[in-house]
Symmetry: C2
Subunit: 523 residues, 2 copies
């Protein structure tokens, strides 16, 4: 009850980079999350909802700027602690598992869905709060866990409405890359990091770009010269072979969903260069890829272990019917290779959409994940094997919209208009009956004076039917029904004469209200 001094009016605006979701948007996302939940549960995963707020300490100071721990995250100080909003669902999982490991089953299969926050510069289509939807298996060392996540991801995509053929899950392995680095004789961690960073640009610059960047350097599209890593041609060759195995041409044009820290995972990162070439999908080609990789990693123990894992994943998936029309081994998957420690997987939608300039391009990535064995170690000192996937829910919704598989708006309620304020309880009785029959319905509760406003309201609500009754109708035991869907169709196509006849409005007996409206809704 404290008095507030007079001050200028506050602006009614979301903070920059935040947005609101209305009606159909919320309902469609919820429906999608429900479908994904059903698949996750079928696979034995259990829900986890961790708190949105974590200590910065638990999240990890993943950026080196210690004076400003809130770089990249939204953070604030509370006494001696810094608290922050979670930036993904994996860091909280690591904290939860470390905290409750004695009570949780091992392996722990959990799924989580909810908003995450990134303190990044907002841009078009790039928000600072967005949804993630993850499933992870913690404590399972076997690649059977990775294979299972890939199979589940495939089931999820088909369940939410992406038909087989419109998507492809591509699997790679960090260990194979480690084998390649070993074969190159690259033992210096700094140089290894340079190579990893360069490989990460493969999606953007293609094989020739990677070749230049690993060597002397490259003129980028803006005209600036980017210094190269300075490797010899003999060292560069195995890397490029690794990336392009099984491809006629560099695989380009992805839009990345990834989980590595502080890199905007789960959001859009466009690529403008090159064209996406789908890898060949036959089992024979898959076998060739594995053989080729084995050749590239030579005698590297880790490299061979990586190829063995890919072969085992491929075998497990094939016997379950997830063939190369759905899931393929593809060394060109580079996203997150610096972050993951074993198998890496990414789901791409392979159909074309038009970009903002009307040019066709692949829709790109909607989910990604892999194996990471170090996250829990930060807390406990013990390495715990874990593998999991993150689905970019908003990207997946955008894909369904792009394919015309989601409606713009949901059907609104039946609107009972108010002709006579004193009959409010009669109008309320009508909606009670409709609701009892499971029909969305409401009485118009604005100022009823202007009847046109009531019909405009019904329009805006996307109402299928308006009910109209004044004292005359009440006296006769009838009501008027206005079929607004039919009315809209007539308004678009009818002549003035036809329009005047108003066949979309008709009189029914009051007693038949529910049955007549059910008839319209069914039609």
């Amino acid at each position: 009850m404290a008095k507030v001094k007079k001050q200028p009016r506050p602006k009614a605006e979301t903070p920059k980079g935040f947005r609101d979701y209305f009606g159909a948007e919320v309902a469609q996302r919820k429906a999608m999350l429900d479908e994904i939940t059903a698949v996750y549960q079928l696979y034995g995963f259990d829900a986890l909802e961790s708190s949105a707020v974590e200590t910065v300490e638990a999240l990890g100071k993943f950026l080196p700027d210690v004076d400003r721990p809130n770089e990249g995250v939204f953070a604030w100080q509370e006494e001696d602690d810094w608290l922050a909003l979670r930036y993904d669902l994996t860091a909280p999982l690591a904290r939860v598992y470390a905290q409750f490991r004695n009570d949780l089953p091992t392996p722990y299969r959990r799924f989580a869905m909810g908003p995450v926050w990134r303190n990044e510069k907002p841009g078009p289509g790039r928000f600072r709060q967005f949804y993630q939807c993850d499933a992870d298996t913690v404590g399972a060392p076997s690649v059977a866990a990775d294979a299972e996540i890939c199979a589940m991801l495939s089931d999820v995509l088909e369940r939410v409405g992406i038909p087989r053929g419109d998507y492809l899950i591509r699997v790679n392995n960090r260990k194979v890359l480690n084998g390649v680095l070993e074969v190159m004789g690259l033992a210096d961690p700094a140089q290894q990091a340079d190579v990893l960073r360069t490989i990460d640009k493969f999606d953007k610059v293609g094989a020739s770009g990677v070749r230049e960047l690993l060597g002397k350097g490259r003129l980028d599209s803006s005209g600036a010269f980017i210094d190269g890593v300075g490797l010899a041609e003999a060292q560069i060759e195995p890397v490029v072979s690794f990336l392009t195995t099984g491809h006629q041409q560099a695989n380009l044009g992805g839009m990345g969903i990834q989980r590595p820290l502080g890199q905007g995972g789960g959001q859009i990162a466009t690529s403008n260069e090159g064209a996406f070439i789908t890898p060949e999908l036959s089992g024979a080609v898959q076998k060739n890829i594995l053989e080729e990789l084995r050749r590239i990693v030579g005698s590297s123990t880790q490299g061979n272990e990586g190829v063995d894992e890919l072969a085992e994943i491929s075998r497990l998936l094939n016997v379950q019917g997830y063939g190369p029309d759905r899931i393929v081994i593809d060394p060109s998957v580079v996203r997150g290779l610096g972050y993951y420690t074993g198998p890496v997987y990414e789901a791409e939608l392979t159909f074309e959409i038009k970009d903002e300039k009307g040019r066709p391009r692949q829709f790109g990535s909607v989910a990604g994940g892999g194996r990471y064995d170090d996250l829990v170690k930060r807390f406990t000192g013990q390495a715990v094997p874990a593998t999991g996937v993150s689905i970019g829910v908003d990207r997946l919704l955008a894909a369904l919209h792009a394919k015309g598989r989601l409606d713009k708006a949901t059907v609104g309620p039946v609107i009972v208009t108010v002709m006579d304020r004193d009959r409010m309880s009669d109008y309320q009785a009508m909606v009670s009956e409709l609701r009892a029959a499971g029909i969305r319905a409401e009485v118009y509760l604005g100022n009823p004076k202007n009847f046109g406003n009531q019909l405009k309201y019904a329009d805006k609500r996307n109402a299928p039917v308006a009910v109209i009754a004044g004292s005359e109708e009440f006296d006769q035991g009838v009501v008027q029904l206005k079929d607004l869907v039919l009315g809209a169709k007539i308004a678009e196509t009818a002549t003035h004469e036809e329009w005047k006849e108003q066949p979309a409005q008709f009189e029914i007996k009051r007693a038949d209200l529910v049955a007549e409206i059910q008839k319209i809704l069914a039609g």
Copy 2:
């Protein structure tokens, strides 16, 4: 890829006052929110999901400490702005309505559900992040909108599993109280505020306590003397009459759900004094209450308007079948009277539970709301009528748990154990078949060496069935099924002899796997 210096291990803990929700907890809340959503939608309400982060300016500096706008909220500075986590769902609604008022229908019926955050001292059962679930009608001046919210709240409670008779929705009106203040001749705003503050304690101190606090003062239970407002007996009488109209004794013992700012609305506030007396529920008593109120407000215009509104709400609800067994006029509802501008309503669960000391007490409040016409005005200068309710989801879940209407854990997946690592694809094939039949199932993906661990895992997951097959079984085309539900029952009651017979484990043909497990699950 920046290197992090060696540092002590982070603590794996949520920040104080935050918690995680696991498995069944998440699933049960989701199921409840789905039921509530269904009712809200049936009444024509549309979903809104506003951003979790708002500018402090938009939320309102509801506490006077301008130097620290984060008092009560979690806030942080970003360039010139302060941002904060929403502390309820009403303030964001006001911002959204002001921002999008030209595009939104009027009236705007929206529901919202999600976490809100309070920067308050945590305590037992009192968290700094909790769920709210609101429905509001913005732009509807008629009390038909208030009546409708009360009816909807009644439907919601019955839908989620609170039977009629176990709850009561009580309705009061701020305007009647204003009438009382007018009759008392209390024009001084500071004194009016004192009276409102005192009335707010009615739930805790009862009628005699309010009488003392409005007069000379009162010795509280800790022995401290609380100064009174200093009113004369003739001024005190109408207030006490107002509060106790229709009650034999003061109505005490509520646990408050309320929406006023910064007061912990939606969470638990216990009361230890007095005993709850259910108001009498007959239509005649309701009529008497209205007559009594009319007598108390005398010639006050606003007071009479308030009584008229209560009478109209009562009439509208009665004709729709929401009689005084579900919704009553009750002037003892005082929560939020300082905040709301018209009708105020509160839902209480009337059954008894045992408190932490084993004493019986009313469960108390699970939802509250009312009419507030000023929230949007902050932004636009125009008063916009609004009325709405907030349901304390966690309280409602606690109530269903207290009544034994929710299970502790959900049924886990069927666990296919691993006797022979080399048969992994055979085990995977089994779970594929089970999932295809809609049965939750998984292969054990931990280290399979210790078979006892696998059964312990199945136990921990609350698995109904374990599937067991080694090379011998594979050779014979059979598998072993272990009915873990039956097994647990036998373990509890059986003698050692019976136990040894292990009737809960039996062999079936591999081809009958799905059918046999379906049989167990059905039983």
